[in-house]
Assembly symmetry: C3
Homo-oligomer: 201 residues x 3
């Protein structure tokens, strides 16, 4: 189940990367690379930081496979993208939840402090999108608009809160994902966002 969601998240992130790259008039190779980086960038940074090499996607070909499928789907359906926006958003939200959990789990396995585990979970979920935006020469969108990463942090807090009750892993995973996914859905529906900080120098 967990693995299935990981696959869905990878697919959704790859599609979101491909669509962004196409809007920048890149060639197919560029589009593929951006799709790739969006999907595995977060996990790659996480694995490098904790010293888990070769990094995840190099030893498990499923990621390359799912990204290729995401790339092809984005190519095929790019004209009907508006109709797909809702499904894509849903997939992306699932990816957000699952990737946060995977990051939390890897951090715990290496014996890191909860604060650092939450940072790892947030990075796993968000860094792919940051790299996508840098490669497309834009200020990363998560630094400016959506309360995207904040939700990952919240999810991490919920997870460690539940952990102190000695619940079963599966139940903690389930509740944490539900929290992340539902807060994101509410945030977008009711347009929650953080205020911009300004500093006149």
């Amino acid at each position: 189940m967990f693995h299935l969601l990981d696959i869905i998240g990878t697919l959704a992130f790859a599609m979101s990367g491909a669509l962004t790259a196409m809007s920048k008039r890149m060639d197919p190779f560029g589009v593929y690379i951006i799709a790739f980086v969006t999907a595995v960038g977060g996990g790659t940074l996480r694995d490098i930081l904790i010293g888990r090499t070769p990094v995840g996607w190099m030893v498990d070909l499923e990621y390359v496979f799912m990204i290729s499928i995401g790339f092809v789907l984005a190519l095929l359906f790019r004209k009907r993208f508006d109709q797909l926006r809702t499904s894509l958003f849903l997939f992306d939200t699932i990816g957000l939840g699952v990737f946060t959990l995977i990051g939390l789990e890897k951090g715990i396995n290496v014996g890191l402090h909860p604060v650092i585990c939450i940072a790892l979970g947030t990075m796993t979920a968000c860094f792919g999108g940051v790299t996508r935006d840098i490669l497309c020469n834009e200020i990363p969108v998560i630094f400016r608009k959506e309360i995207y990463a904040t939700i990952c942090i919240l999810g991490g807090l919920v997870f460690f809160g539940l952990r102190s009750f000695n619940l079963e892993s599966d139940i903690m995973y389930l509740i944490t994902s539900i929290v992340i996914i539902s807060v994101r859905l509410m945030a977008v529906k009711w347009k929650w966002y953080l205020p911009t900080l300004e500093h006149k120098s």
Copy 2:
């Protein structure tokens, strides 16, 4: 003493990152991340390159703590920033000196050649600022204006020069930091900078 200066440098770098991010109208999360990356980016790159993982800030929570304080201070005092400019500049210069030394030391511990140690020291001191500028979508300032990194290289040369006299570590550290800090202060006071290279293609 050395550790105290590391803490002061981290704080100053975090504040400089936060203030830059606020000038770009980012939300609080974005500001925090830029502060974080500015403070630990250099050390993270260094640790990854020499294979020292999990990287420094993941195993020593003091960094997260100091960055959070720097973030809060930058928020609170952003309106009075002009009056603080001198103190902040001084902290930043201390950070420059200390971070260079830490990089040099780690390189020596891994048995690398002095040239590579100097590169590591320079990276430790400068890469955080480079990442800050990339995330804010600007050409890194150290490539264009200030003789920032050049001072780190100079500090590294002084350090290895002193080392050939078999001085005590503490004395070498002290002299090297004084050189770095005073050259930077003079460079800013008398507006020393490297000429721009131009190439018409």
Copy 3:
């Protein structure tokens, strides 16, 4: 022979980085760093991803040496650059071929799947240029115009095709480089490029 080509590729990549940086009006330090990153960026990313640390250029000083020569050459000859364009292009193409092969080889040594080895080879050859463009605040050129990376992938396919015939390493290397180099020359001569993908959102 292989090593000599590696050296020529490093030199050419360093010069191409230096020339790009000079066109952005950077100071000498900035120009040197961009030259450095363009030359070793690909190999550094590869080594980090497979966990081979300290990374290549830290333990073999020849790279630093060649990059410094490339930097000086670029400085000296920047006014006569137009006359050198052809030689530089040739060096760059040799670098492309050699770096792809080195990446393929390292991947095989770590026991990775051919698909991942091809990705490593392509990264080794292309990531330096990508970093150069990001640091110069541009959308990486290989994502938009030239069929640069596609040629590396093609080279990788040829390599693994030949490998199934149990040829000697030297012969496989030779044929693969000839394919990469000649396809690139033809691609530039006859202006082959991939069509841009567009997506109206």
